[in-house]
């Protein structure tokens, strides 16, 4: 890995600075405005924050890799929903019911497999047709959603299994199951992106695709692998979330892609690719959830939340540009 210069350090720590500001703001304002006696900054509340960050967070972590590649995936919300349907529906299949609780890991397997297959479809199309990932996944966002509806019409798919719920609600060392998964995925992806050849190649491809191709990196399969990875992660997110909730509406997961992208961009990953970090995305995810939770805590309404999140996104982009600006000598193009 490359050594960082000072500007990089500033950029990488910016999101954590933002989180600290948010915490301070909500702690102070929250004390004044909230009707609750509990302080916003309590440990339990922060642990809950991590848990609640998990569904979008796990997807956003995968999105980071896709975006470091210079691609984007708009279909994750639909993948999330379809994986959830497979998870819950498979538990009702006769042979699965015969298995008792052993059906649970199998159902997880089916759901994760669904995610991987959907990701592979995206990846294969991007690889083989050379159509831009934005268009491919924009179209498959519609297509996968169509498959979701095809599966069970417009009805919700439900299967409440208390063993599953208890597992999902369990806490180990104070952290919820979902938190463990979020942190585990973050750790693994961080290792992948910083320590492995695949991860380093991901940066190289995003930085200079031509050079990567010339250097013999097989860009097509690399893309496909990453799309399978994000498919897997979208499914994993669904598995964790729907194990706890037990019912999925065909519209679930809509707009998740936009939230995931927002988190990734807040974390400083460049849209053009080649730059970004898993840990910063984790920061981005936490920052958004904190904002949402904090605004709820101080009693802000939906419209304010929407307004604030939208403007913060634009503000971050503006700051990033200011940070990256060269001197006055710059060519004005």
């Amino acid at each position: 890995m490359a050594t960082l210069n000072r500007k990089d350090y500033i950029k990488r720590s910016a999101i954590w600075g933002f989180i600290v500001v948010e915490l301070a703001f909500f702690a102070i304002v929250g004390d004044v405005m909230s009707v609750s006696d509990r302080t916003f900054l309590s440990l339990d509340n922060m642990l809950l924050l991590l848990k609640q960050s998990a569904p979008i967070g796990i997807i956003a972590l995968g999105m980071t890799i896709i975006m470091i590649n210079g691609n984007i995936d708009l279909s994750v919300g639909a993948t999330f929903a379809l994986a959830a349907i497979v998870l819950l529906d498979s538990l009702t299949w006769p042979f699965m019911q015969a298995l008792g609780d052993w059906a649970i890991p199998l159902a997880w397997g089916f759901a994760l497999m669904t995610g991987v297959v959907l990701g592979a479809i995206n990846g294969l199309i991007v690889w083989k047709t050379g159509v831009d990932a934005f268009i491919v996944t924009l179209a498959s966002m519609l297509g996968f959603r169509g498959l979701v509806f095809m599966y069970n019409g417009e009805q919700p798919t439900s299967h409440l299994n208390w063993t599953l719920v208890d597992f999902a609600e369990a806490q180990f060392l104070g952290l919820h199951t979902a938190t463990w998964f979020l942190l585990g995925v973050a750790l693994i992806l961080w290792l992948v992106m910083t320590k492995t050849v695949h991860g380093r190649n991901a940066y190289a491809i995003g930085n200079n695709r031509e050079a990567a191709i010339n250097a013999g990196i097989r860009v097509g399969p690399h893309f496909m692998l990453n799309f399978m990875l994000i498919g897997f992660l979208a499914a994993l997110s669904a598995v964790i979330f729907y194990s706890e909730s037990g019912s999925v509406n065909p519209n679930d997961g809509m707009l998740y892609e936009l939230w995931a992208i927002t988190a990734v961009v807040l974390g400083g990953t460049k849209l053009a690719g080649g730059y970004g970090s898993i840990i910063s995305t984790l920061g981005g995810v936490i920052a958004i959830q904190l904002l949402r939770k904090g605004l709820g805590h101080i009693g802000a309404d939906t419209q304010t939340v929407n307004l604030v999140i939208g403007l913060i996104l634009i503000g971050v982009l503006f700051l990033d540009r200011q940070l990256n600006r060269q001197g006055k000598e710059e060519l004005k193009i």
């Binding site: 417009e154 919700p156 409440l160 369990a170 104070g174 909730s245 019912s247 509406n249």
Partner: protein
């Protein structure tokens, strides 16, 4: 901290909280999706107004924006903030059950409002307060059948249905009530097709346009609420197709006006203000230890062009 000690802690604090409730009770509500239609917005305003009017109540009002995950997070937040009672307007009648159970385990009574959760969750709910949507569907079927009988077409009438957002309990229950009841009262009327209108006037208008092209002969339209019903009515007007009986539910102001104009036949009168006040009252009653029926329905009567004078024009 293992689970049992945590639970014990939560219980103690809940008890302490209960003691404090004698003076003020903190009631949290997580709504489905404020801003998606007037009903929910009016409900929210009415709820806040009712809570402010009552000096003993502090309300924490949250909105899930239609997202199950966000609603579950809000349930957790409310449990974490240790409110005295939680009112939930479920985004999904099944998905929120575990979250409701969590509140139940934390000794916080849960009132479900407007649209019920599925039966598996009934054990964890203190009370349901809201309209009886299955009955609403049945009543709509009856309104339509009566009208067909008056018109003398009950033997051959063809009906299309525009249902609410797929997957929402209210939509499912109303459709079920209508579909079950219609053949009972008018066995010769056929329901030719059902498509979702997603509670949206625009979507409903498009769906109706397609129906009108597809079927030359449509005698009645049942819409899951008046907003969609009026969308369908607009489509019929555009296509110059007269003589269609429109029946909706949740009488909106637009539906009421269309009835007054004679374009729209009937609906179910359901006030969000009643709905909100009933929910709050249910929660207060529970905290005061009063005995309540588990299904605490408020009445939602039939409204048609014939009896609309008995009702005030809806404010939403």
């Amino acid at each position: 901290m293992n689970m049992t000690t945590r639970m014990a802690l939560v219980c103690t604090t809940a008890l302490l909280g209960g003691a404090a409730a004698a003076e003020t009770m903190t009631i949290g509500i997580t709504q489905n999706n404020v801003g998606v239609d007037s009903y929910q917005t009016t409900y929210e305003k009415a709820f806040i107004a009712a809570a402010e009017a009552n000096p003993d109540v502090e309300a924490v009002v949250l909105d899930a924006g239609g997202d199950v995950a966000r609603q579950i997070a809000q349930m957790e937040d409310l449990i974490q903030r240790d409110v005295d009672a939680i009112i939930i307007w479920p985004t999904n009648g099944e998905a929120v059950i575990p979250a409701v159970r969590k509140a139940h385990q934390a000794n916080i009574p849960v009132v479900v409002t407007n649209s019920n959760i599925a039966e598996q969750g009934f054990d964890f709910v203190a009370s349901f307060s809201g309209p009886d949507n299955i009955t609403q569907g049945s009543r709509a079927a009856e309104i339509m059948c009566d009208r067909f009988t008056d018109m003398g077409v009950e033997g051959e009438a063809r009906v299309v249905q525009i249902s609410g957002q797929p997957g929402y309990t209210t939509a499912i229950e109303r459709a079920k009530g209508f579909e079950d009841r219609l053949p009972e009262v008018c066995p010769d009327v056929t329901l030719v097709e059902t498509q979702p209108g997603d509670w949206s006037r625009e979507k409903s208008q498009q769906v109706m346009e397609a129906f009108l092209v597809k079927y030359d002969d449509i005698d009645g339209v049942y819409a899951g609420d008046d907003n969609m019903g009026v969308g369908a009515l607009n489509a019929a007007k555009d296509a110059d197709r007269d003589g269609i009986v429109f029946v909706g539910a949740t009488n909106f102001a637009v539906g009421y006006e269309a009835m007054a104009d004679g374009d729209y036949w009937g609906s179910i009168y359901q006030s969000p203000v009643d709905d909100a006040e009933a929910a709050l009252q249910t929660a207060i009653d529970i905290l005061n230890g009063e005995d309540l029926p588990f299904l605490n329905y408020f009445d939602t009567p039939k409204i048609t062009q014939e009896n609309m004078d008995e009702f005030e024009k809806p404010v939403f």
